[in-house]
Each structure stands twice: as C-alpha cells, then as structure tokens.
C-alpha cells in the first residue's frame, strides 16, 4: 500500500490545475437548464476539448489522454477545486461514450465520438417511460424494422437535458412478442427527426431540466442501433454500470460541498450552535465525504488491478445521494430564516447557492435507480438474501 501520489500523478495534477486556473470562466455560467446557459456550457465543452481536458479517460486518438482511474480522480479534484462548470454532456461522454467504445462498430465510433467530444452533439437518455420507472424492463416503446430503418413509436420520460439536446440514446422494444428484458434494442435517435415532440417538464427550481419525448413514426437508420437487435438490455446494463461507477460521481464534488459547509458553519458559528445538532451534522458531512473519497480510491485501485465492481456499486449510489441530502440539510439549518431565499433576492445577503443544491439533492435518491431499488440489489446480489 502506498497512499502518496507519484511524481507523474503530481505533475498531471499541476498541469490540470494550471490549465483550469487559466481557463475556467470567472463569471459563473448560467444554469444549463436555460437556453443561454445550455449554449454557454456547450461552448465550455468545446474549450475543454481544445485543451484535451474534456474526456481525459478517453484514448489519445479520440482527443483524450488515456488517463487511468487514479488520474481521473485527480483531474476531478482539480476540476471541482477550480469551481469549473457542470458537464452538460455527461450522459454522452461518461455513459454513452464508454458504451460506444465497447459495443459500437468502427463506423459508429467515428461518427459519434468526435462530435460528442467537442460538444457539437449533446446527448440525453431515453430509459424511463410512464409505466417503466423502477421497473425498467416494462418498456413498451416500439421500434419496428422497416427495410433499413427502425420506425419508433412511444414515449420516454424524465429525460434529463432533452429540451436542448441533439441526440437521445435509449431502449426500445423490437420484438412485440417479447417480455421483460428480452427483445429490447439499444438505439440512438437524432432529436430533430420528424415525428419527435419534446415536452419540457419544469423541475423543483422551475427550470425545464428534463422532458418527455414522444415518438410518432420516427424513422431511424438501422446503423443507429448499438449492439445486436434484442441485446439492448445487456448494452444498457453496461451504461448503468458506468453510471453507478466512478465516472459520474467522483468524490471531489462532495468533498467540495463538505468544505463549503465547514466554511459556512465557521462563519455562522454563533447562530448555528443554538441548534446543537448542526455541528455534529457538519462533522459527519466531512467524515462521510472523506470516507467516500478513501473508498473510491481503494475501489479504483482494485479495478486497475483487474477487479470488477459488482453489486457493491449500489452502496455507492446510496452513500453519495444521502450524503448530499444531509450536507444540504445542514446548510439550510445554518442559514436558518434566510435559507428559503434565492440568492438573487435583494436582501438574501450571502446565502449563496445552497437552496439550489438543496433542491437538486432531493433528486439524488430517486434518479439512476431509486435507493429502494439499490437496497434490494444490495440485499439480493451482494448479501444473497432471498428474492
């Protein structure tokens, strides 16, 4: 065991830090759930790509740096430390990208990956349907083969950033006789196709962060199919594995929230200590953020040595989502009577972005497989309890 960074890892950290310090926009970008903000974030993706900092884990020939998981964690630490913008194309670069590299044809990789990297094409997901949420295998949206096209009919929902995204990847039922996870196919769909209607859904903050997507005889070329027909479930599970894995929720984000929380408490200590539970919550936030970081490094080292993340990945989703909620709850307690105010309210003072974070934290235990589903997975597949 050696818990120090190598010279190369340290040099990589410094290189990232230097670039980020020089390039992270001084003024915070608008929310990517607004049209202007979406455009700003798309431009930021292009800038990251120019500096070869967009997809550091991608291979060099695709504009990445071929980083291993430790370098990825280091990069994320620098990224969040620098206060850099959120990743508007995270569904593309972190979820679909790796899946394309694993399952895509050479032609598909050449067609999709470069434009994903530049932010020219922003991706959203098409998993959930009105009657297929936690029970994802209940998908009913159809894709029917007609010559060299699929004809898609149906409805997807809770599709994050679909309002301004360019492409959608999702699962559709190609075998009408099939049930559950059989007969599903993974298909990539351009959102400007005739027959597509995107209906924005405002989130708790009032902004259209996700949407419903309606498919009405949408024709998609067969070469937009990822993997074999009827094999969509296993392709999608690879995506879900990545989603629950290290790429999307590396610890840096939570460590930065914990740091801001400690600062917030220190600044407001006199009023915060009137509730004796607050200090305990702030300390627990830091302890848990550190535990998340330590465990992630340990897992990353195990994976680099050839190990796989199994059902224990489900502990990860529960841990960070509940941590995020707890940290924001503590911040709301510290802010007290001002916690309800938006930062742009004229007399809000220094409330900062905690309210936004608090609202967003409510979604963590729900999206990407509810925490109840994760607990079932842990109990059944990790602990071996009866179904």
């Amino acid at each position: 065991m050696d818990l120090t960074f190598s010279k190369q890892q340290f040099a990589f950290r410094m290189e990232a830090r230097e670039w980020l310090e020089a390039n992270v926009p001084e003024e915070k970008l608008k929310s990517f759930d607004t049209e202007d903000g979406f455009r700003q974030h798309r431009e930021w993706e292009a800038k990251l790509n120019e500096g070869r900092w967009g997809m550091v884990t991608w291979p060099e020939e695709l504009g990445g740096r071929g980083c291993d998981l430790i370098e990825w964690l280091v990069f994320e630490e620098e990224y969040y430390r620098a206060g850099a913008p959120l990743r508007v194309n995270q569904n593309g670069i972190f979820l679909l990208g790796p899946t394309l590299m694993e399952y895509g044809t050479e032609a598909q990789k050449a067609r999709f990956l470069p434009k994903m990297a530049t932010g020219e094409e922003i991706w959203c997901q098409g998993w959930s349907e009105p009657n297929a949420g936690s029970d994802m295998a209940a998908i009913r949206s159809r894709a029917e083969l007609d010559g060299d096209h699929y004809v898609i009919n149906g409805q997807k929902t809770w599709s994050t950033r679909a309002v301004w995204a360019d492409w959608c990847f999702g699962m559709f039922r190609t075998d009408p006789e099939s049930e559950r996870h059989r007969g599903l196919t993974f298909i990539l769909v351009p959102l400007d196709s005739p027959g597509i209607t995107v209906r924005p859904i405002p989130q708790l903050d009032g902004l259209p962060g996700f949407a419903e997507i309606f498919f009405d005889d949408v024709r998609v070329p067969v070469d937009c199919r990822l993997g074999a027909e009827g094999e969509g479930w296993s392709v999608a599970m690879a995506t879900a594995g990545f989603e629950r894995g290290l790429l999307l929720r590396s610890p840096a984000r939570f460590q930065e929230t914990a740091r801001r929380l400690v600062d917030l408490y220190a600044t407001h200590r006199d009023s915060a200590d009137r509730d004796p539970g607050v200090k305990a919550a702030v300390m627990q936030a830091w302890l848990d953020a550190e535990a998340y970081c330590l465990t992630t490094y340990q897992t990353a080292c195990r994976m680099m040595a050839g190990g796989k993340i199994g059902a224990e990945a489900s502990t990860n989703k529960i841990f960070w989502s509940e941590l995020d909620q707890a940290m924001h709850a503590a911040a709301m307690s510290i802010l007290g009577a001002r916690a309800e105010l938006w930062p742009h309210a004229p007399d809000a003072g220094d409330v900062g972005g905690w309210l936004d974070g608090w609202l967003f934290a409510q979604s963590g235990p729900i999206y990407a497989g509810t925490n109840e589903i994760q607990r079932n997975i842990i109990a059944e597949r990790m602990l071996g309890m009866p179904r």
Partner: protein, 339 residues
C-alpha cells in the same frame, strides 16, 4: 498511489482467518466465558507466531507493522476472539518498541515466544491485568512499568464477558518510563485495533442475520425475502462498505508515521464503530425475539461491538479530535486534500 494490500498480506490474512474460524467457534467462546482464560488457546496463537507478528525480527518476531496486522485484527473481530491478541500486537508490542532500551530487549522476545503477556492500561483501567507479567500503566499522562504483583487489581464485569476489565492502583514510587507521546500513540493503536475488530464484528452480525432470515419462515416464506428486512441489512452493508477504507488508511498512516495519523485513527474508529453499532441494532431486529436471547449467538458479537465503541478513546474523544482539526487547526480540506 496504490490503495490495496499485497498478495502476501492477503495470504497471511487468509491463513489466520481459516485458523480462527475453525478454532474459535461460538461454542468455544461460550466455554471460555464459563471457564475463564485457557492457556491452550493462547498457546495455539503463539505457535502460529501471532504474538510476535509486530515484534522486530531481532527479538524473535516477524517484524511486521500496523498495516500487516490490521487485516488480522479484522478477523479477530469476526470470531470475537476472547484473548488479548490485538492488544498485544497493536498496543503492547509497539509501545515496548517505542520505549526501547532494556525494557524492550527483555520483554519483546518473551512476548514473541509466548512466555509473557505485557498489557497497557490507560486512565486507570487494564484488560486481562491479572494474567500479565508486565503492566505498562498510564498515570498523569506518563507511562509506568509495573509488576502486576505490586499492583492492586479490581475486577469489573463488562457486558462482554470476554473483556476482563480491571481497575488498577499501583505504588506511586514507580518511575515514569515514557510520556504523553507514547501514551497517545498507544491509545491510537488501541483505537485502530478496536476499529478493525468492529469491521469484523459488523460483518459477522450481517452474515448471521442473513443466514437466519434466509431460513426463518413467516407467512409461508423466508422473512429475509421481505423488503423491510432486506433494507435493514442493506443499510448496514452501506455503512460497513464505507468504513473499511478509513480503517486501512489509518493503519497505513500509523505504520508510515503520517503527521495526521491521529486524526485518521479517529475517522476510522468513528466510522467502524458506527457501522458495528448499526449492525447490532439491525441484526437483533432481524433475529426477532431470538436475538434477545442468551441462546442465540448474535449477542457474543453484538456485546463486543458495544464494548469496543467506548474503548481506546470513546466517541466524544474522537469527535473532539475531528472538531479540533476542522474548526481550530483549520485543517486544509476539500477536493485533493485527502492524501
């Protein structure tokens, strides 16, 4: 950056695990509760070289460190080993090494050879004090080497019958042999040992509850198939999964003299004891009324977890250290500040 154990460390862990699981059954633990300490078991541990794991090679030991032993301590927890092995390897031996000189040269070979038991007592308490040949006792922040015959020991029954606790008084003329730094290091190593054992105890309780709820049927099916029961177990699995890395990191920091090792130990102790406390709470619930009986084995592990929570620095002690680091020392924190 290599956050993993070596193949050798894992193989050693596996061989000790196999020995402990076949020898230290719950029946044997219950037997030892009745009979008191048994020289046969200690002899077995000595034969395996376990009392000398951390003793330097020149004194007849294996010359290993806290990191090598932490995985073994976890396994000792899994079987609720009713012998002061973790204390010997993680507290007594390193303390003797730090004191050095003639005391170390005299006692370390005897500890490795199993000829003597040396135990450290802080704040007026010592475990298994009546069995020791040498006591290293703290008073007023200083450590004293005390002949057990010259000390006055009074037995105090613990909720965990394996923990044979004594208050101790000794002659005020005894000369101090070490100061606060050695005392603090002893407490931290004891806390690491308690944390590692708590990981093993939590795992054992989960394994027992999963097995029990897989067999126990109500409403025509195993109670473990009900989500309410599953989620109790999953919640323990989550806390346990995120308690391990802090414990291993604390072991590495102690072994490598990291300047923040003491804080790392507190993080480890808090995380592991919290996981074990949740394991006890949820696993007794999963066992239903059976979990509240003396007959079912769960309490062997539950009680040790409860006892260790307050040992080697209680929750308040370790939280105070976290609080001081965060709010008084202004420890640099945030992304990139962990290692």
């Amino acid at each position: 950056m290599h956050f993993d154990f070596t193949e050798d460390q894992r193989l050693f862990r596996d061989s000790v695990r196999n020995f402990l699981r076949s020898e230290i059954t719950s029946e044997r633990v219950r037997g030892l509760w009745e009979s008191g300490p048994d020289t046969a078991l200690w002899s077995q541990l000595v034969e395996l070289g376990l009392t000398g794991v951390t003793v330097p090679e020149e004194h007849g030991g294996l010359g290993m460190d806290e990191l090598d032993f932490v995985l073994l301590a976890e396994q000792c927890g899994y079987v609720a080993l009713p012998e002061p092995l973790v204390h010997t390897a993680l507290v007594a031996v390193p303390t003797l090494k730090e004191i050095g000189g003639g005391l170390a040269a005299t006692w370390l070979p005897r500890v490795a050879a199993g000829d003597a038991l040396v135990l450290v007592g802080l704040a007026g308490w010592v475990e298994d004090g009546d069995r020791a040949q040498l006591l290293l006792l703290e008073r007023g922040g200083e450590l004293h080497a005390v002949d057990p015959d010259a000390a006055e020991l009074r037995a105090n029954a613990s909720v965990d019958p394996s923990r044979r606790l004594f208050t101790v008084r000794f002659n005020s003329a005894a000369e101090a042999i070490a100061g606060t730094a050695v005392v603090g290091a002893a407490r931290d190593r004891g806390a690491l040992g308690a944390a590692a054992q708590s990981l093993g105890l939590a795992q054992r309780m989960v394994d027992m509850a999963v097995a029990y709820t897989g067999e126990r049927k109500q409403f025509g099916k195993p109670v473990g198939s009900f989500q309410a029961v599953k989620h109790h177990m999953a919640n323990v699995a989550v806390r346990l999964e995120y308690a391990r890395a802090p414990v291993y990191r604390a072991a590495w920091s102690l072994a490598n003299g990291h300047p923040r090792a003491a804080l790392h130990v507190s993080q480890a102790k808090l995380a592991a004891c919290e996981a074990a406390a949740l394991a006890a709470k949820n696993c007794i619930q999963a066992h239903g009324a059976m979990g509240y009986t003396w007959e079912v084995d769960l309490h062997i592990y539950m009680k040790k977890a409860w006892a260790l929570a307050g040992a080697w620095g209680d929750t308040g002690f370790h939280k105070q250290r976290v609080s001081d680091a965060l709010f008084e020392d202004k420890l640099p924190i945030g992304a990139g500040a962990t290692f």
